[in-house]
């Protein structure tokens, strides 16, 4: 074996205490990195699976594909798999059913296997053959005589949805109900939604279907799919696009983005966040482990000096540290794979227990060989990085200095006097503080590590506290206690809205819909007050200026007729004959203010007046595909937004119209925004303590009309509970990770203290030889321990205070509010723990020193 390797191995064996402390530090650091990657991969996996669960496992969708071109799509080299949905039919139900039709969408086996509808199955199974259907839950609710397994004699016609469109020709057929789906369709369609089965080969050549594609190379989807569309002869729309759609959310999780949308997505930000977290952790751990390698290198500096003096080159000396790093990291890194997984399993299981009710699903721990390999490589890189510094330092030392141990000795340039300590603790107090000062370099890592642990754990805790206070403040400002969002992608059933409006026990109710739009104005349209506050030019980022015209963002709000008229009456205006709107003409005077009251101060926004005609456009941003323009006449200009639960963002101009007008306007918007714009929001103000009961009743009503994915309810109590759970769960993860930092910190402290005391055996023996008794030694070490343990607290506390103050400042939270909510007891517990651990280490070490034979310790034991 190479002599340098052999020497390094011997050193590892001989210096067990240092070796073990390095191995522990590497083990925990690697466990941390492994856990971080397991967390990231589990989170990624959860997101991908969730996206597939709710949106299906497809990359791109081609619409209006003629059935005779399906073969061309399937045979395309870029296509991995193809699923087909379409050939929609209407089945006319036998007499006696509440609604007369089943609106059937047929899907092939690939579609059923990969898409999300199978997840909505409440009972039974999915269709596996032609003639089998699964029907929506409202079919069974309204027709209790029917059940799964029943066969219906129906007349099948082409795709019609209302009696107005009823087809002439109906072919007799029988359908077997094989399952119940949690889906719904608006009652305006006069039918029940159902899904059937089809063989694409059996489709008539002229029928058009929707094709879902999984691509061989997902990364090329945005270029390959338009080429496929072109190859099969699909026509472009008026905007020059092929009728295709992409599963952008799923693609983004796989790192595939539409051109220009990379930075707009959250995934790169999350990835960068992970990189930052991993990089920072690696740097911090490398710093901590570097201290351990530094101690080890200094312990054997005399021997390294000997090696140098007999001809070992600087590279060979450096290699002794690197070899040591390699030898000491192999076992901990391998072991950390197991520990990292077990740690992740424990933490994520506990996290899932806390959050499963909030998210509606549990996070599965996902551990892949790739993640393990990456964790191992990162850990090894971290160890090499940590060892690099001491290796370089050792290779530069002059041989004679190393042989004499000059690098090893503590040098004090000037002895300082400490009158306060001397007065209260005597001469020994002065010695203690001088010793701590002299060993500053040695203890540096300990202090930084313990300060970092404090900063990390309590900094996060402060962030959560501030965010919690901020959320609670926002919640308190929310006039409504129960919020319902109805999102069917089409006009909401009037009967459902009527039932919700008739809810018993509520004190106030608002129903509205909203759509983004914009108005182009000139500088002269600004009010004098707004101009004084900065005007359009101060609203950079919100208001776009082009050729002297300004695009002002607007929100078109649809209100129920009676509520709309009530607002109009309060404004003292009469309705105009045509399309008429109420303009909420106010804008924040100080949008940059941190103080809530200052932020709420408003001034008149624009010079709009009653009777004026305003031209609005659907194209509220350059990315908006549609460009439908419409006009409204101003019926009234009011100074503040009616209390409906909508809080428009800065510089957004609310334009309120009656609900019917709203629907007729957005009916002309491009399809892209239809799903969003048809959303209805219902808000209730309820007596204290009643919100969850009302929410439950709202859930029941919505559930009777809609599929569970078509509506969402929340209440103040539920939100508060969920916030508490989320904060607790996230803090649990943060504290678990911070605890790993803490363990590394404590192990490095232990190693540094034991090493320092070992080096100073001679010094303590000398004290004893001149008459310092056991009590004196204990007192001396006790004071050293106290001074050492106080420093990380004295460093960490001001830093933590700065972090907390910055967070409070940014969020506009007062110190009193913060202190009331921040768990000061946890901080105190941490401080006590640090004091206890360091002092306990000193007390244990002092016993060994007291047991030393004075003459043996004083004797020079150089070999």
């Amino acid at each position: 074996m190479n002599i340098i390797r052999e020497y390094s191995l011997d050193q590892v064996r001989k210096n067990r205490r240092t070796s073990i402390s390095i191995m522990v530090a590497v083990l925990i650091a690697s466990t941390f990195l492994c856990a971080l990657l397991v967390f990231a991969q589990s989170f990624w996996n959860q997101m991908v699976q969730q996206e597939i669960y709710i949106g299906g496992d497809w990359d791109a969708e081609l619409m209006d594909v003629p059935a005779d071109r399906l073969g061309m799509v399937r045979d395309n080299a870029g296509v991995k798999a193809m699923f087909v949905k379409g050939d929609n039919k209407t089945a006319f139900l036998p007499e006696g059913t509440a609604l007369p039709r089943l609106l059937i969408q047929n899907c092939d086996s690939g579609y059923w296997g990969s898409m999300y509808e199978k997840n909505m199955l409440l009972r039974g199974r999915i269709p596996q053959a032609s003639g089998e259907v699964v029907v929506s839950k409202d079919f069974f609710l309204q027709n209790p005589a029917y059940g799964i397994g029943d066969t219906l004699a129906v007349g099948i016609g082409s795709n019609v949805r209302t009696h107005m469109e009823e087809s002439q020709q109906k072919d007799a057929a029988s359908l077997t109900i094989v399952g119940e789906l949690d889906v719904s369709v608006s009652s305006g369609y006069e039918g029940y939604l159902a899904y059937g089965f089809m063989e694409p080969e059996a489709l008539s050549p002229d029928s058009e279907v929707v094709v879902y594609l999984q691509m061989e190379r997902r990364g090329e989807v945005y270029t390959a799919v338009p080429q496929i569309a072109e190859a099969i002869g699909l026509p472009k729309d008026e905007y020059g696009n092929y009728p295709c759609r992409y599963h952008a959310a799923l693609l983004a999780w796989h790192g595939v983005y539409a051109p220009g949308s990379f930075w707009g997505s959250d995934v790169p930000k999350l990835f960068l966040g992970l990189l930052l977290a991993a990089g920072t952790s690696m740097a911090v751990f490398a710093y901590i482990i570097r201290g351990a390698f530094g101690i080890s290198a200094k312990q054997k500096i005399h021997q390294l000096g000997i090696l140098k003096s007999v001809g070992a080159g600087p590279k060979q000396i450096g290699r002794t540290v690197i070899y040591e790093a390699c030898i000491l990291s192999v076992i901990p890194i391998l072991l950390s794979m197991v520990l990292g997984y077990l740690f992740s399993l424990g933490v994520l299981s506990a996290y899932s227990d806390m959050t499963s009710e909030v998210f509606g699903s549990r996070m599965e721990v996902y551990f892949s060989p790739a993640a393990a390999l990456m964790a191992a490589v990162l850990s090894f890189a971290m160890v090499l990085l940590a060892a690099h510094g001491p290796a370089k330092q050792m290779s530069k030392v002059l041989p004679i200095e190393a042989v004499r141990g000059e690098q090893h000795s503590i040098s004090v340039k000037k002895a300082k006097s400490h009158p306060v300590l001397a007065k209260h603790f005597g001469f020994l107090g002065e010695i203690a503080v001088n010793s701590v000062n002299a060993g500053r370099k040695l203890y540096h890592t300990c202090m930084v590590t313990l300060s970092l642990c404090m900063l990390l754990a309590f900094g996060f805790l402060a962030a959560f506290t501030v965010s919690d206070i901020s959320n609670a403040q926002a919640e308190n400002r929310n006039h409504f206690d129960v919020n319902i969002t109805l999102r069917t992608g089409e006009r909401i059933d009037g009967a459902l809205l009527a039932e919700l409006k008739a809810m018993q026990g509520v004190q106030g109710i608002s129903v509205y819909a909203r759509a983004n739009c914009a108005v182009w104005l000139s500088g002269s349209d600004q009010s004098a007050e707004f101009l004084q506050a900065g005007g359009f030019d101060a609203a950079d980022g919100y208001i776009v200026e082009r050729d002297g015209r300004y695009r002002v963002p607007c929100v078109l709000v649809g209100m129920e007729q009676d509520a709309y008229e009530s607002v109009l009456r309060e404004a003292g205006a009469e309705a105009l004959s045509e399309s008429y709107a109420i303009i909420v003409n106010s804008v924040a005077k100080n949008p940059g203010a941190r103080d809530y009251a200052a932020m709420q101060e408003t001034v008149p926004y624009l010079n709009f007046r009653q009777g004026q005609r305003v031209e609005l456009t659907e194209k509220y941003s350059d990315d908006t595909q549609g460009d439908y323009e419409f006009t409204v006449d101003v019926a009234a200009v009011i100074p503040s937004m009616p209390e409906i639960g909508l809080d428009p963002s800065f510089y957004t101009l609310p334009v309120i119209v009656p609900m019917e007008d709203y629907y007729s306007i957005i009916g002309n918007f491009s399809d892209e925004m239809a799903v969003y714009n048809y959303r209805n929001y219902v808000n209730y103000a309820v007596p204290d303590g009643m919100d969850e009961e009302i929410q439950g009743e709202a859930e029941r009503i919505c559930g009777a009309y809609l599929g569970s994915s078509d509506y969402m309810t929340s209440s103040k109590t539920e939100r508060m509970r969920n916030r508490g759970r989320m904060t607790g769960a996230t803090m649990f993860i943060v504290c678990s990770l911070a605890a790993l930092f803490g363990v590394v910190g404590i192990s490095s402290v232990l190693s540094a203290i034991l090493n320092s005391l070992g080096q100073r055996r001679k010094e303590f023996a000398m004290f004893r030889s001149v008459g310092v008794d056991e009590k004196g030694i204990r007192r001396l070490l006790g004071m050293e321990g106290f001074l050492l343990s106080v420093r990380p607290i004295l460093i960490g506390l001001p830093l933590l205070t700065i972090v907390c103050a910055a967070q409070c400042y940014i969020e506009g939270v007062s110190v009193v509010e913060f202190l009331y909510a921040f768990p000061v007891w946890a901080l105190v517990a941490y401080i006590i723990l640090v004091l206890f651990v360091i002092n306990a280490i000193y007390m244990l070490a002092s016993k060994k020193i007291r047991d030393d034979v004075i003459v043996a310790a004083i004797k020079d034991d150089t070999v």
């Binding site: 002599i3 020497y7 007999v310 070999v863």
Partner: protein, 227 residues
């Protein structure tokens, strides 16, 4: 013919008011095969001179010619090679690696070069040093005299042209001192090595061919004891 020559060799420690000049413009020539003793009081600069000649310390000024090559200009790697192959250093406190066997300690300079010593030469040195039955022991298992012999073995293994001994007997009793000096003289005669020996002991110094006395970093006398 000079094997070793210094010109204006200077070494200072510390800075400002605390600066100490350990060697002050020392000029010295040593012929090949000479046995030179360097004497002087503690802190006179004799060990510093030896360390500079051995390449384990760096001068602040002046030149050190070894076989007409100035080692003061060497980079770290070349200087390490010089220490391995050209000089052998013996210290008062032996400075053996405690975790390596005696055999490996002796062979260390060659092992660092990834070489093994010839068996005949190794056996010859070990026999001369009387360490045949101690080769697999660790340094801590040997007496002081035996440890110093192992250190001499290490200095001799590469057959360096120059042997530098820094108070090699300072930690030994009379019997071991005599044995070590005999070994050095034997090495000087048998292997034609140039030896520079730093010592406090005048009796030891008298065993050399030439005695140089240093005081306050300067050579104050340089006498030939025997031709």
């Amino acid at each position: 013919m000079d094997i070793l020559r210094t010109e204006g060799l200077t070494r200072q420690y510390g800075t400002g008011q605390t600066m100490v000049t350990a060697l002050d413009h020392v000029d010295l020539q040593v012929e090949r095969g000479q046995f030179v003793a360097i004497i002087g009081a503690s802190g006179s600069g004799k060990s510093t001179l030896l360390h500079l000649l051995g390449g384990v310390d760096r001068p602040d000024g002046g030149k050190i010619f070894v076989e007409d090559v100035d080692i003061a200009t060497f980079g770290e790697e070349r200087l390490a090679q010089y220490r391995r192959r050209k000089v052998g250093l013996i210290y008062q406190f032996y400075n053996l690696i405690p975790t390596l066997s005696v055999k490996k300690n002796i062979c260390l300079p060659m092992l660092l070069d990834n070489k093994e010593p010839g068996k005949e030469r190794f056996d010859d040195i070990v026999r001369t040093l009387g360490l045949e039955d101690r080769l697999e022991h660790l340094p801590g298992q040997l007496s002081g005299g035996q440890q110093q012999r192992a250190a001499i073995g290490r200095a001799l293994i590469y057959q360096p042209a120059i042997l530098l001994a820094d108070e090699p007997t300072g930690n030994l009793d009379r019997k071991n001192t005599e044995e070590i000096i005999s070994l050095l003289k034997l090495s000087n005669r048998q292997y034609k090595q140039t030896i520079l020996l730093v010592t406090h002991d005048e009796n030891v110094a008298l065993e050399a061919d030439r005695i140089i006395k240093i005081e306050d970093g300067k050579i104050i006398s340089d006498k030939a004891v025997r031709p």
